[in-house]
Amino acid sequence: MEAPDEQLMTAYRDGDAGAFEKLYLRHKGPLFRFVLRGVYQRSVAEELFQEIWMRVIEARERYAPEARFTTWLYTIAHNRLVDHWRRGAPALVALDEDPPGNPAQDPGRQVEGRESAGRFLAALEALPAAQREAFLLHEEGGLTVAAIARATGSNEEAAKSRLRYAIAKLKAAVDDG
């Protein structure tokens, strides 16, 4: 049986580098995709991804296993994304609004969307950032509505609403195929 995340993080806090490696291997893929699909650019995603893990490393002494590790990890990721968006990522500042130049409306994107995966991806990218983030936290991070609310600094109702809207739009894109 694999050790829980919280146990591994506590072990790393106490000096066990091997515990961090297990934790990293377990979460690197979902977290990377979460970041990548939040910023669109791979180079930026890699930079943010590294910053997030550095924050984890730096904050290990303050880690208290009261909350789930994934909630803590994606809270850090959320904050890094918000910082990134505030630094000037144009389309994603208004988190609950549709981004300008919605790729779902873009003819080029529509051509790509002829294939189901491309269409789904286009629909995902077309989501408002908050809705997309809620969906990605749910799919990649496995977070519950309550955990999504904590990670994004919102309340459960807002988190639940965002997630429902995201799923409804994505479902429409799947059904259209």
Binding site: A17, F20, G29, E46, A117, E139, V145, K171, D175
Partner: protein
């Protein structure tokens, strides 16, 4: 998230997307940073670092090993004896009176795979070397000698330091030297034979004195028998007149 909010088709469609992963170089950089962070913990204020932290344990171990070596060396050191050879082992089951108690047995058991078989193992010096000179095994009175009466004797002749008495009897013939072995094999001896075998151990002079004493006591028959035996053993030895005369 409530179960009613789940949509398997959406989840399945999302899972069908490419599963991007971070590049390996990024993995290594992050893991290295994690290891460095743990390794860079502040060290205790008084704990020695680097090579110095081994100084005390190594020095302590060296002192212990050296002390033990010197102690064992002293314990096993053979006494300075010219031409002395290791004393043969006492008969099995016979504990020497002057042997130190259990600790010594224990030490011997550790150093010799054969347990109490002293001198059997090469490379390990016999324990007696460092101990005070051992007493002769108590001599068994002739009257109490049983069948293997001569058993302790051959061991003493195999290289034990010679007593003054045995130095005198050094001229014993090969026959007399081999005799104890024959006696070992022999069945129970009659009393006369036992007496005779005991005289073998005497010096010729003492033997002759004893015969002369028998003459003085008027026990000529026994004196004659002893004389005959004496001549058989020491044909070249001059027999004094007092011994010959009845």
């Amino acid at each position: 998230m409530a179960e009613e909010d789940r949509d398997p088709k959406v989840s399945q469609a999302y899972r069908a997307l490419e599963r991007e992963e971070p590049p390996r170089a990024l993995d290594e950089a992050i893991l290295a940073a994690a290891r460095r962070a743990v390794g860079a913990r502040p060290a205790p204020l008084v704990a020695p670092v680097g090579r110095r932290r081994w100084y005390f344990p190594v020095a302590a171990a060296a002192v212990i090993v050296l002390s033990a070596t010197v102690a064992l060396r002293i314990w096993y050191e053979p006494p300075e004896m010219d031409g002395a050879s290791p004393e043969p082992a006492p008969p099995a089951g016979q504990k020497r009176a002057d042997e130190p108690p259990a600790a010594r047995d224990e030490l011997r058991a550790k150093t010799q795979p054969g347990g109490s078989q002293r001198g059997v193992v090469s490379g390990v010096e016999p324990l007696k070397d460092a101990s005070p000179p051992l007493k002769e095994p108590p001599r068994i009175p002739e009257s109490k000698v049983e069948a293997p009466a001569a058993a302790p004797e051959p061991k003493r002749e195999q290289g034990a330091p010679r007593s003054p008495e045995s130095a005198v009897t050094g001229r014993l013939s090969k026959e007399s030297a081999a005799r104890p072995m024959m006696q070992q094999r022999a069945a129970p001896e009659p009393a006369e034979e036992r007496t005779r075998s005991a005289t073998v151990e005497e010096s010729p002079e003492r033997w002759l004195e004893r015969i002369a004493e028998l003459r003085r006591q008027g026990r000529d028959d026994e004196a004659d028998r002893q004389l005959a035996e004496f001549r058989k053993r020491h044909p070249d030895h001059k027999v004094p007149e007092a011994v010959l005369r009845r």
